[in-house]
């Protein structure tokens, strides 16, 4: 019996099924949101077998990094492979695509709520649009952080202040609530 025959005997998992499986892959730095919720996985598709040396069907997973230097990128690719292997897909290619550049605007409403429940304030502003136009007045740029009220994820107070423009990871800033006094991470609009 040829390998091709064996492969065809089992139907290929659908796109929806695969995306549901990848919904189990959590961001290693923020373990309450998945790579699907964050918009890191851009597409999945079965690769055309034509021209391939192996006749075993191969799944292509297209991902995009959050930040250029994000150390989680390689861990995420490895986690994607191992979840798919666990579901019986042996041939997986994880390909990185830079364009369009990842933005927090792709985050799902469920992901924003999960972040808030976990104690991380979700992005307040949309990252794309008038507030982040390519050409921006540098004076406005230096005032932008102080203009935005970031609600406290614990007590919902809007009286909060920026402690540090960078927090525990590149994608977060550190804030403190002036009412409940708790410090908290803020997922920056990007």
């Amino acid at each position: 019996m040829s390998a091709a025959f064996v492969a065809q005997a089992r139907p290929l998992a659908s796109r929806e099924t695969i995306l549901a499986w990848l919904g189990e892959v959590m961001d290693p730095e923020v373990p309450v949101v998945s790579v699907i919720d964050l918009g890191i996985v851009r597409d999945v598709r079965w690769q055309d077998e034509a021209g391939r040396a192996s006749r075993v069907p191969s799944l292509l997973v297209i991902v995009t990094p959050t930040y250029s230097g994000c150390p989680a990128t390689e861990v995420i690719a490895e986690s994607i492979r191992s979840v798919l292997h666990a579901h019986g897909i042996d041939e997986v290619e994880v390909r990185t695509l830079l364009s369009p550049a990842w933005t927090t605007d792709w985050m799902t409403p469920a992901a924003r709520e999960a972040l808030r429940a976990y104690g991380i304030a979700p992005p307040v502003l949309r990252a794309t649009g008038a507030d982040n136009a390519q050409v921006i007045d540098i004076t406005a740029l230096t005032l932008r952080l102080s203009r935005v009220a970031v609600p406290c994820p614990r007590c919902a107070s809007r009286k909060t202040r920026l402690l540090s423009q960078f927090g525990s990871t590149a994608c977060k800033a550190l804030y403190q609530c002036n009412d409940c006094l708790e410090p908290f991470d803020y997922f920056k609009p990007h």
């Binding site: 150390p71 830079l98 230096t142 952080l145 423009q165 590149a170 550190l174 920056k188």
Partner: protein
């Protein structure tokens, strides 16, 4: 060697060298927040350096990858600007160097987003978002320190004066810049000068600092003629791969 390869080395080496400089602050920042910020900026720049140098290796076509280019070239083969190799000094020196660079870097990347080379455009579109945040932070620090105490004000003015001679090299157009500009690969080097100058004057003005009028500029980094600081920096950066070629984690 192709013009595009040389140009990509310039982009990648600026990010790599500045990243290495900022990483030296890790554990030594004046406050935890500053320590975190500098290392995060260093991480962004390192990620950008990897993207530029990987592409440079592909364009060169001699089988050199990002690691071979970062760890296997001598100082004379580095194409970074002289500004980024200037010593960290005290924190004010590091902040001033960062602001002057960030303000230029943002203009450059905005121009590269329109590159006729799709790979360059997509790397720039990714990087410009990060650098917009860098300049927001470094400009804010310039303003805070310039308006701080008499000592912080004096130190920031000294830092700006000392670094000023290194802030014109990036607007000089040589054959490599001209070739890339005419092919639509990169914006003309001189085209960024007016916008950079306007941004810098705005921020220095709000910081209560004087924009230097000194015009005796230093140049050479883009062609591999470096200050004495680069060699020492590369000694630390490249030690492991020089001592144990091909070593991996």
């Amino acid at each position: 060697m192709s013009h595009k390869f040389q140009y990509l080395l310039r982009l990648g080496d600026n990010c790599l060298v500045l990243s290495q400089q900022l990483a030296a602050w890790c554990g030594h920042g004046p406050a935890l927040e500053e320590d975190l910020a500098l290392t995060n900026v260093a991480l962004d720049l390192l990620g950008q350096a990897r993207l530029w140098l990987s592409y440079a290796g592909e364009v060169e076509g001699r089988g050199r990858d990002e690691d071979a280019l970062a760890f296997g070239r001598d100082g004379l083969d580095f194409r970074n600007l002289l500004l980024v190799e200037q010593p960290n000094g005290h924190y004010g020196n590091t902040v001033a160097r960062q602001f002057l660079f960030d303000a230029w870097h943002r203009q450059l990347l905005a121009g590269l987003c329109e590159s006729s080379d799709p790979r360059i455009a997509e790397i720039a579109q990714k990087a410009v978002k990060e650098v917009r945040y860098h300049v927001e932070r470094s400009a804010g620090l310039m303003i805070a320190l310039g308006n701080g105490t008499a000592l912080s004000h004096a130190r920031m003015q000294d830092a700006v004066n000392m670094l000023w001679p290194y802030t014109n090299e990036w607007f000089d157009s040589d054959a490599i810049d001209a070739q890339c500009a005419s092919a639509g690969v990169a914006p003309a080097a001189s085209s960024l000068a007016a916008a950079w100058r306007a941004d810098v004057e705005t921020v220095l003005g709000r910081a209560g600092l004087t924009t230097p009028t000194y015009t005796g500029h230093q140049r050479g980094g883009k062609l591999g003629v470096h200050s004495e600081h680069l060699g020492r920096l590369l000694t630390a950066l490249q030690f492991m791969q020089r001592a144990y070629p091909g070593a991996q984690w």
